[in-house]
């Protein structure tokens, strides 16, 4: 089976706190932080977007191995904030990375699960030997409507995985993958709308939990396994509460998910969320560990991935750890945050 050969992440340097946002809208910050388990979120620089974030995460990944870039035969980017409605992000990222013209590529969108969808496509192309290596990327600069509940968590970040099939190169083998989807109107953004809409009480039970738990249980049944058969687990993190509850329902202990919970520190990075959780788990992973990842994308669907960490992880060059990127930060005022996220209209 194919697997991850190297990985990288990127978090912009800027943060805005829940307190700073709550102050503007007359809300109680403690109340909000308590409910969401989030105290601050990452914000893109004025000149950053999904393309630049996807590029930086990919470059971090590629710097950790020696690879002939012309053997990267596939590149897929999942995002709900591709800079253009029509014109692919993927080709700009590939050109900037120095990848030639011969690669399978497309931009993907499935709310927060488009990054794992990229990983599914790349895994499948590798498995049928149509690609030697492939890049699967999840990146977002998520937009929250000013004053809306999602404004406290909609964050920016990216994660990139170079996947390959050579046994001696794979650091985390893909054991299997599965999906679960249904037509559920919990969160959407119309064609010409800047900000997404969501149905207030609809995002929990019939949306997130039904799909995350449904997909994971579907996999458990199929593979005849249980939560205790995994060393670590990662669940999509729209806030800090949902993944903790889903983990509990599925029988996972806090110790199995605690490494993955980047949401507590940077908010919900949408298509990058579960993938950044995986990065944080891989940053500490030991050979032999089994990792379960279940993403969630509104609309709705969940992808499950199961990885087994190999001995090769010891040979992977040390990159910048995700924790060090999270710690390197500069706080913005609400006004500066609005400027960074294009909320100030100048004409």
């Amino acid at each position: 089976m194919p697997g991850i050969v190297t990985y990288g992440a990127y978090i912009p340097r800027y943060r805005v706190t829940v307190e700073e946002i709550a102050k503007v809208w007359g809300k109680d910050p403690q109340d909000i932080s308590h409910g969401l388990f989030v105290t601050e979120k990452s914000v893109p620089g004025v000149d950053e977007d999904t393309i630049t974030i996807a590029y930086e995460a990919s470059r971090q990944a590629l710097a950790r191995i020696d690879i002939d870039l012309q053997k990267i035969d596939a590149l897929y980017i999942g995002s709900e904030s591709h800079p253009y409605a029509v014109k692919p992000s993927s080709v700009t990222v590939a050109t900037a990375l120095g990848i030639d013209n011969h690669y399978f590529t497309a931009d993907l969108e499935f709310a927060c699960k488009a990054g794992t969808a990229a990983m599914q496509i790349v895994s499948s192309l590798l498995a049928c030997r149509k690609a030697r290596y492939g890049l699967a990327i999840g990146a977002d600069t998520a937009q929250g409507k000013p004053g809306d509940a999602l404004e406290y968590t909609a964050a920016a970040g990216g994660a990139a995985f170079v996947m390959g099939s050579k046994r001696e190169e794979v650091i985390a083998e893909v054991e299997d993958y599965a999906s679960f989807a249904s037509d559920t109107p919990d969160f959407w953004r119309g064609k010409y709308n800047k900000y997404p809409s969501h149905s207030e009480r609809f995002t929990g039970m019939p949306a997130y939990f039904k799909h995350v738990v449904g997909a994971t249980e579907h996999y458990f049944k199929k593979a005849k396994c249980l939560a205790k058969d995994f060393d670590k687990a990662v669940f999509h993190m729209p806030n800090g509460k949902f993944p903790r509850v889903a983990a509990k329902v599925l029988g996972f202990k806090e110790s199995q998910i605690k490494d993955s919970l980047v949401v507590d520190l940077i908010g919900n990075t949408y298509s990058a969320s579960s993938l950044l959780g995986l990065v944080r788990v891989l940053d500490k992973a030991k050979p032999g560990e089994r990792i379960l990842v279940t993403s969630y994308g509104s609309g709705s669907g969940s992808d499950v991935f199961v990885f087994k960490v190999t001995d090769n992880i010891k040979n992977l060059r040390k990159g910048q750890k995700l924790n060090s990127m999270i710690k390197d930060k500069k706080y913005l005022s609400y006004g500066e945050y609005c400027k960074h996220t294009g909320k100030i209209v100048q004409n």
């Binding site: 340097r13 620089g45 004025v46 000149d47 950053e48 977007d49 393309i51 630049t52 590029y55 930086e56 470059r59 800079p83 253009y84 700009t92 050109t95 900037a96 120095g98 500069k330 400027k339 294009g342 100048q346």
Partner: protein, 129 residues
């Protein structure tokens, strides 16, 4: 600059590809087809290092129209490692914290602000190491 003129510069802008004079060795960024030092036209493409040092810099408070959203920002002369002196922005750092001689590395960013209906241009900027 037109869309086509911009497009021709993608490789150069995304990856710091410039020219080097095969006669006298002078390096150019952006690319040049003629050496202003020795008059030679024997120049070849060269990908320069993505690391360098700050040669000089200035904080821009009043910018041209295309960069208004980014003000204040820092424009710098960067001496690339084994490469030429180039003009670029230094991002993610306050001007007060930047010092001449400091090491910088290239990052990939949007160059100009998005304007409705137009192509977004991307390229290299620098960040303190």
């Amino acid at each position: 600059m037109s869309i086509i003129q911009n497009w021709r510069l993608y490789e150069s802008r995304y990856n710091l590809v410039g020219s080097v004079c095969r006669t006298c060795g002078k390096q150019y960024f952006p690319k040049s087809s003629f050496c202003s030092k020795c008059g030679s036209d024997k120049l070849t493409d060269e990908t320069f290092s993505k690391e360098g040092t700050v040669y000089s810099f200035s904080k821009v408070n009043v910018s041209p129209y295309l960069f208004q959203k980014q003000t204040p920002y820092v424009v710098a002369l960067i001496k690339l490692k084994n490469g030429p002196l180039i003009t670029s922005q230094i991002v993610d750092s306050e001007a007060e914290k930047i010092k001449i001689g400091q090491k910088v590395k290239a990052v990939f960013r949007k160059i100009s602000d998005e304007k409705k209906g137009e192509i977004i241009s991307y390229g290299i900027k620098f960040r303190l190491l």
